[in-house]
């Protein structure tokens, strides 16, 4: 029996490149087909999840109204021929007497691993938050994902005032603006706070203008 290890003839660069290119194209084609087949159901699930989340962050309003951000003003009607996916949206919530409860605003920002998308209920007149829910996040399991699973953290957003101020767990002066961040998930919890502060500052003038115009308050 020979001790020589059989030598494999080298493969040409062209064949290597062609193999990877064809494999990539086939993979891409399959993924596009599966994406097209699953997307309608995924979008329907997301719409239902959003509807339930709006109810949660606005503390179960009696009615809601969808508003679109068109040319830096809020309107319930889309321009003719426009798709609603092209415009940022907020949900206005009203109580049984028709009084405005607040607005549910979705906003996202880069977290520790990926984009963190947050929905929060906010009343711009009182500058009080009504609730917060993480819609999408791929933060580290067991650490960063506590921003949606830690009920103590999430519960703080039900009564805090904007602009929010993140403080270490167990620290702070007890002010309404303070949010105690999660130990071990400081970046993720800070991202949630920044998302709300940025979105509140961005939307405040539009919401105020809409309240003055539509409700006349």
């Amino acid at each position: 029996m020979s001790d020589e290890i059989p030598v494999r003839p080298p493969t040409s660069s062209l064949r290597i490149v062609a193999t990877l290119a064809v494999a990539g194209m086939l993979s891409g084609t399959l993924l596009v087909l599966v994406h097209q087949a699953t997307q309608p159901r995924i979008l329907a699930h997301k719409a239902e999840a959003l509807r339930q989340a709006v109810g949660t962050v606005l503390q179960q309003p009696t009615t809601t109204q969808l508003l679109y951000r068109v040319d830096e003003r809020l309107t319930a009607e889309l321009p003719e021929g426009a798709s609603e996916r092209d415009f940022a949206q907020v949900h206005a919530g009203f109580d049984a007497d028709g009084a405005l409860v607040g607005f549910a605003i979705a906003h996202s920002k880069a977290g520790f691993q990926d984009q963190v998308r947050v929905l929060f209920g906010w009343n711009p007149r009182s500058e009080r938050l009504l609730g917060m829910k993480v819609l999408e996040s791929r933060e580290t399991p067991g650490l960063g994902d506590k921003i949606e699973k830690d009920l103590d953290f999430v519960g703080q957003f039900g009564s805090a005032s904007t602009p929010l101020l993140g403080v270490k767990a167990g620290a702070g002066s007890g002010a309404q603006q303070e949010i105690h961040m999660i130990t071990g998930a400081t970046i993720s919890s800070r991202v949630v706070i920044e998302v709300i502060n940025e979105a509140a500052a961005d939307w405040a003038p539009l919401l105020e203008a809409w309240i003055a115009e539509a409700i006349g308050a």
């Binding site: 193999t19 995924i42 399991p141």
Partner: protein, 216 residues
């Protein structure tokens, strides 16, 4: 490579070479997502699907894939099936998909799957590769269910969400938290090691002679 029969290919991965309990592969999802039986089922099912799909294509294309880029190509094939599983779960069971979070995408780096492609599927015909994938995937699913069942039962007092112990049961919350994964896996491994040793001792003849090895 040692010659095996089709039934050995199928059943080897289920128990004798179970990827989690014997080979200690794929421990990251085994520890992280087995806090409920439903999560274990979804993760085990997704991994089984990826393993079968990848083994099928790797075995089919083994003569076309140059040796120099075989690992890259295997990973591309595995990643494709993981993405398909990810989108399928999101469309069919969004709650479970959200509960499993990043761990579905992390199936790509499960060394058990790449290991089966390199060690078996790339050297065997399609049928044998599929049998091996089904056996190994089922073994992974069984191990996840063994952990998920214990953790949900003790950590929440339920099985698949149905109460088992009644309302007076105080759940051992630690079992559904990360330490519960380590504890459960540790106790399973302890129990299996004890059982294996006991079987080995019983196989020793009582007259003190050592058992003769079977003819090769």
């Amino acid at each position: 490579m040692r010659q095996t029969t089709p039934s050995q290919d199928l059943f080897r991965g289920v128990w004798r070479e179970n990827p989690v309990l014997i080979q200690m592969l794929g421990l990251c999802p085994a520890l992280a997502v087995t806090n409920t039986v439903a999560n274990s089922l979804a993760m085990g099912g997704a991994t089984l699907f990826v393993l079968c799909g990848s083994s099928l294509f790797v075995s089919l294309l083994k003569r076309l894939i140059p040796h120099e880029v075989r690992i890259s190509t295997y990973i591309l094939i595995i990643a494709t099936f993981v993405t398909v599983a990810d989108m399928g779960l999101e469309a069919l069971v969004p709650g479970l998909h959200k509960a499993l979070g990043a761990f579905i995408a992390l199936i790509v780096v499960n060394c058990m799957i790449l290991g089966r492609q390199e060690a078996f599927a790339s050297k065997k015909p399609v049928g044998r590769a599929l049998l091996d994938a089904v056996g190994t995937g089922t073994g992974f699913l069984v191990a996840l269910l063994m952990m998920g069942g214990i953790r949900e039962l003790l950590g929440a007092g339920t099985l698949l969400g149905f109460p088992v112990f009644g309302e007076h049961f105080e759940p051992w919350v630690i079992m559904i938290l990360p330490p519960g994964g380590f504890l459960t896996l540790g106790f399973w491994l302890l129990g299996l090691a004890w059982w294996t040793e006991r079987r080995a001792q019983r196989a020793v003849p009582t007259d003190g002679t050592t058992p003769q090895k079977e003819a090769a």
